[in-house]
Structure formats: C-alpha cells, structure tokens
C-alpha cells in the first residue's frame, strides 16, 4: 500500500487563495476526520494513509516530511497564469529561485527532499483557479465549483496505484 500525503497551502483569509484548505477539509470529512481550520492541527496523520496537511505556504521543513511518502499531492490556487482552470500535472524536483522572498515552490521542496534524503516521492500538483482574493474567508462560487471537482479527482487519485 502506497503511503500518500495530500498537502494544501494558501491563505484562507484571502478568499480563493485558501481553496486548498477547503479541498483538504472536504477530503478530511470523507475520511471521517475533522475538517481543517486555522485553529486546528495542520496535520491529520491517521494510522492509514492518506495523510493530510495544510499550511499558509511551503517551508523548507516540509522537505523532510515528504521523504516519508511514496506519493504526494500538492494542492494550491492559481491566478489564471496556467491554461486550465483545474490544473493537474506531475511535478519533478527542480529548484526555482524566488529572488526576493522566502517563497518556495513544490518543485523546490521536492528538490530539497531529494538532496537531503536521496528519496523523492512521485508528486502531482493540483491547482485551482482563483477569482477573488480579498480579505475574506469565503470562496467565490466559480472557485468552489472547481474545488469540488478537485476533491473528486484527488479522492480517486488516492485510491489508485502508484501510477501518476
């Protein structure tokens, strides 16, 4: 049985930027676990995978965690700069520089994992188009619909074998 992590990141106080929190919460409920909130434990490590986690942004520490898994699904929002509103793609280790800030991409985290541990999980990035990024905790209707499709996809993905 593959060990699977689903890891969502974004800011739930900035409307659609936090869509990953909604998706992870929906998955948690399907698995009979508590939904995520800013006041809850950011990880749901049940005995059986998939394990679930949420964060405001990716940080270097996550690289160590990734090494414990066979497959990882990152979940994020996007601003329309990628072609599909619901974008699903395999990702590989690749360090991507963020010139001014502490920002890390999932590809960079995987690269760190590979460098530190020599193991790299298979990984995909599911990103959902966001439309509204104001200071609010609600999702726009369009993003919520896409998020529900993302939940279905990720749910099926967790049931599959290691093929991505």
């Amino acid at each position: 049985m593959d060990k699977v992590l689903i890891y969502g990141y974004g800011n739930p106080d900035r409307q659609d930027d936090g869509v990953a929190w909604y998706i992870l919460s929906e998955l948690a409920v399907r698995l009979g676990r508590e939904p995520f909130s800013l006041n809850s434990d950011p990880f749901s490590f049940a005995e059986q995978s998939p394990h679930l986690g949420v964060a405001l942004q990716l940080t270097p520490e996550i690289s160590e965690l990734l090494a414990d898994y066979d497959r990882v699904c990152f979940v994020d929002a996007h601003t329309g700069a990628v072609p599909d509103d619901l974008s699903i793609r395999s990702i590989r280790p690749e360090f991507q520089t963020s010139p001014f800030t502490h920002h890390l991409t999932p590809e960079a985290c995987l690269h760190l994992t590979q460098a530190i541990t020599t193991h790299t999980p298979q990984a995909i990035l599911v990103s959902v188009r966001g439309y509204e990024f104001g200071f609010d905790t609600s999702l726009s209707q369009a993003t919520r619909m896409l998020a529900n499709r993302a939940v279905e996809f990720i749910w099926e993905w967790t049931q599959r074998s290691a093929q991505i």
Partner: protein, 475 residues
C-alpha cells in the same frame, strides 16, 4: 536625450510583489534604478470590527514567515487596550518564543537565501546557486543549517503547540506554562546552535576578506538607524525603547514606542505603493533610517550576552566606531543577532521563573488604545489599536519592518545597478546582484497570499523608442 529602460519584474505573489526598473542613458550607463513595491495594505481594514482579543490569532495570518512577531506585537497591543499587563513569567515566555522566531528566520535567510551567493558566488550558475547547490558543495554545513532552523522552530512549537501559527500569547499573558522537559530540550540545543552560527560568522568574515571591493561598493550609503534598546542602550528585541541615531552614531531620539507618531512620518512617491517612513524633525529624505539587523547593531551600544557582544565589538570597528553603512553587512549583523537570540533563550530558560504557572493576568482595566512594538527579524514592527468599550476594534494601524527599510532598499538597488551595470549587456550575475541588494534586507513583501502562477523574472532593455533590444529571463 531619451533614456533606455530595463524592467525586472518577479511576479511571485498576487500582491506584495516588487519590480525593478533600471533606466539607462544613451551612453549605456544607469541613469536611475527604482524598486517599486506593489504592497497592498488592506489588512488594517480587515481587522476593523474584530474583537481585540482575537488579534493575536488574526494578525499572524499577514505573514507565513514571521507570524510570531505579529502574534506577539498584537498581544502586546491588546494587553494595553484591555489594561492587563502580563506577569513577568508570561513576558519571559513570550520573549523566549520570539527568540525562536529570530533564530529560525535569520537562520533560514543566511544559510538558505544569502548563503548560496556568498559560498557559491554571485556569478555562479543559478541552477546550482541555491540551497540545493549548497548541500552539494558543503553537505555538513547544510545539515547544520537545517538543524539551526529546526531548533528555532522547535522553540516556537514547544511553547505555542505549532511551528507556524502559534496559539500562545493572549491579552494579559500566555495560555500555557513551560514544562521542565520542554525547557531542557531548548537548553540542550543551544550550544550546537551557537556553534553553527559561529561557522556562519566565519563564512561572512572570510567572504568579506576575499570580496573587499564588493563590500565597499555594494550599496554603501549614509542613513539614520532605528531599533529597540534597553535602558542602557543594549540590543533589545522584545521590549525597551526606540532609539534613533544619525549617520555618525549620535543619538537623535530615544522614545517610548507608544509615541511613534510623534517621531515618524511617511513620504509618498508616485512610483511605489509602499510609503517611505522618515524621522519627522529631519524631513524627507534627510530623515530616512534603516531598521533590521544592520539598524539594530548600529543602534545598540552593546549586547548583554557574551559571545554576541564580542562579535558586536568587532562589528563596531568596521567603520572606525561609526555606524556600519555597507548593505552586505546586514548578513553579519543578522548572525550576531542570532547568537544573541540563542544566548538569551538560554538565559531565559535558566531563570527559575520561566517554569512559573503565574502566566495570566485576568484583571482588566480597559484603556481603549494600545501600541505593541517588537523587533521582528526584519525590523521594528508596530501594532496600534483603538477599540470601543466592547473591545471591538474601531481603528488599526500597522507599520511593518519592510516599510521602514523602503528607502534603503531603493537606494541599494540604485547604487548596485550604477556600480555593476556598466554596459548594455545584462548578465544573469548582474541581475542577481540587483536582487541581492533587496535580499540583504530580507524584506517581507507580503507573504499573505501566494497562489501559483508565478512568472519568471524578466529583465528587458528597450531602446529609446521602446523597442526591445535585450531580454534576460529565468525562473
């Protein structure tokens, strides 16, 4: 004569991203370089109407990098609004958490963001000029660096229950006492953390020795300096008074942070969304100042812990006893502060009061207004709240560290561009130097939102008619 223009625009955030424009003249030299920060400050409005006691949990959401600083500044402001000063053990515990934040943030910046430039070179291939390249070149150091950040994060977790957004400080104190086991864990890690930081100091010193020309020409300029100090003008990160010194090191002001509006004003430039704070009495730009590690190490006369103080005394000699003006020495100052943070964490843990359960003052005497000031890793952070008698916020003002350093970042970008860009061809190494001028300040250009959709960094040079003549792209 019509100027040429180069634009560097990394769109790494929906908001809070920065753009560099380098205007060239017809002889191929830099006429003027600008850093535009498209900072959107909507968070204050978002907070209005919230209950003041919610603020320590709400404001950390501004930033995923320094949430502890916002958490603690909010708690300090809320203490005042609600009129419930925390007992001494609670203040010590908050301060301990803050030391964890300084260690992890500074550690990450030096070893993972700045370190690759120093250890691998500004002109190294960008494919390897990063922390992964660092791991390949010096795996032992990389592991130490990871452990250092982990140590800081662990302090935060042991106190707040979580590494990123702790739920710990509340108006009047904190909600959890420190266990003996947790204290001992913190104490056990201190020596290794100091040893790693001393390796870092050795790296920056050796690098400075070998790259003297860069040190002396990379963003070197005079400003005032601004930071919290103790009553005896020692380095202070959690409390104390604000001290402002001039370019020669003479004290201009020493004031209670609550009165910041009497001393600071903000200038607006049409090419940046972020305002430019300055010292009122000297006007703009004469009254601009720097904050953060360089600002603090210049502002403080000494440090009250032995190893950090020894380094500070060496630092103070870099410019013959006058304030150190070199932008690249932000890195050195950052490491000195990190050593202080570890030493101070150790001192706090060795004080028996740190295990006290007297951690919350439940008596309240409503004041309605409060200011919380703290030295975030990037500089002085102000939270100012006005609330009605129901403890509901009616007005919020936040001044974040990156704002104080706005002028300095702009000046550093201009200086570095003029120093290094001397011809029409813009190499990746030159571009990296311009970025490094910003990076030395470790700005937080708003980490509150970060959906994917990043564009690569692009540098474009256009001719006087606006036609593209060169484009450098990476990312």
């Amino acid at each position: 004569m019509v100027a040429k223009k180069i634009t560097i625009e990394p769109v790494t955030r929906i908001e809070g991203h920065a753009k560099v424009t380098i205007r060239m003249n017809d002889s191929g030299k830099v006429d003027r370089a600008y850093l535009h920060i498209n900072e959107f400050r909507g968070f204050e409005k978002f907070c209005e109407g919230r209950m003041v006691f919610e603020m320590p949990l709400i404001t950390p959401r501004i930033c995923g990098i320094c949430p502890v600083s916002h958490h603690l500044a909010a708690a300090k402001a809320a203490d005042e609004v609600m009129g419930c000063p925390p007992p001494k053990p609670a203040s010590m515990l908050r301060e301990l958490m803050h030391m964890g934040q300084i260690i992890q943030s500074h550690g990450m910046h030096f070893f993972e963001l700045a370190g690759p430039d120093l250890l691998l070179g500004f002109d190294a291939n960008p494919a390897i000029r990063n922390v992964v390249g660092l791991i390949q070149v010096n795996p032992e150091l990389a592991v130490k660096a990871v452990n250092l950040r982990k140590y800081g994060q662990e302090i935060i977790r042991l106190l707040g229950g979580r590494r990123v957004h702790p739920n710990f400080a509340v108006p009047g104190g904190v909600n959890k006492a420190l266990s003996v086991e947790a204290r001992d864990t913190i104490l056990r890690g201190a020596d290794e953390a100091i040893a790693t930081l001393q390796v870092g100091i050795q790296i920056i010193k050796e690098w400075a020795e070998k790259n003297r020309w860069d040190i002396d020409h990379f963003g070197v300029f005079s400003t005032g300096y601004f930071g919290l100090v103790t009553a005896k003008n020692s380095l202070e990160l959690y409390d104390g008074q604000v001290r402002l010194i001039d370019k020669n090191g003479s004290q201009l002001e020493k004031f209670d942070g609550r009165n910041y509006l009497d001393y600071i004003a903000e200038h607006v430039e049409p090419w940046s969304y972020l305002k430019f704070p300055y010292y009122k009495k000297m006007g703009y730009p004469g009254g601009v100042y720097r904050v953060g590690p360089l600002g603090r190490c210049n502002t403080a006369d000494q440090i009250d812990t032995p190893i950090a103080n020894q380094e500070l005394s060496i630092f103070k000699q870099l410019n013959g006893g006058k304030p150190v003006e070199n932008t690249l020495f932000y890195h050195y100052a950052r490491l000195i502060e990190s050593i202080f943070a570890v030493e101070h964490a150790k001192i706090l843990c060795e004080d028996p009061d740190i295990l006290s359960t007297d951690i919350l003052n439940t008596r309240q005497e409503f004041k309605g207004e409060g200011v919380g000031v703290i030295e975030a890793p990037r500089g002085t952070l102000f939270h100012h709240y006005w609330a009605n008698k129901n403890n509901q916020l009616e007005r919020v003002n936040l001044i974040v560290a990156t704002g104080h350093n706005n002028w300095s970042m702009c000046e550093a970008v201009d200086s570095v561009a003029k120093t290094y860009i001397t011809g029409p061809e813009i190499t990746e190494g030159l571009l990296n130097r311009v970025e490094a001028a910003v990076r030395a300040h470790d700005p937080c250009l708003s980490c509150s939102t970060h959906a994917i959709g990043q564009m690569p960094m692009i540098v474009e040079m256009v001719d006087p008619e606006g036609n593209l003549i060169q484009k450098v792209c990476r990312g």
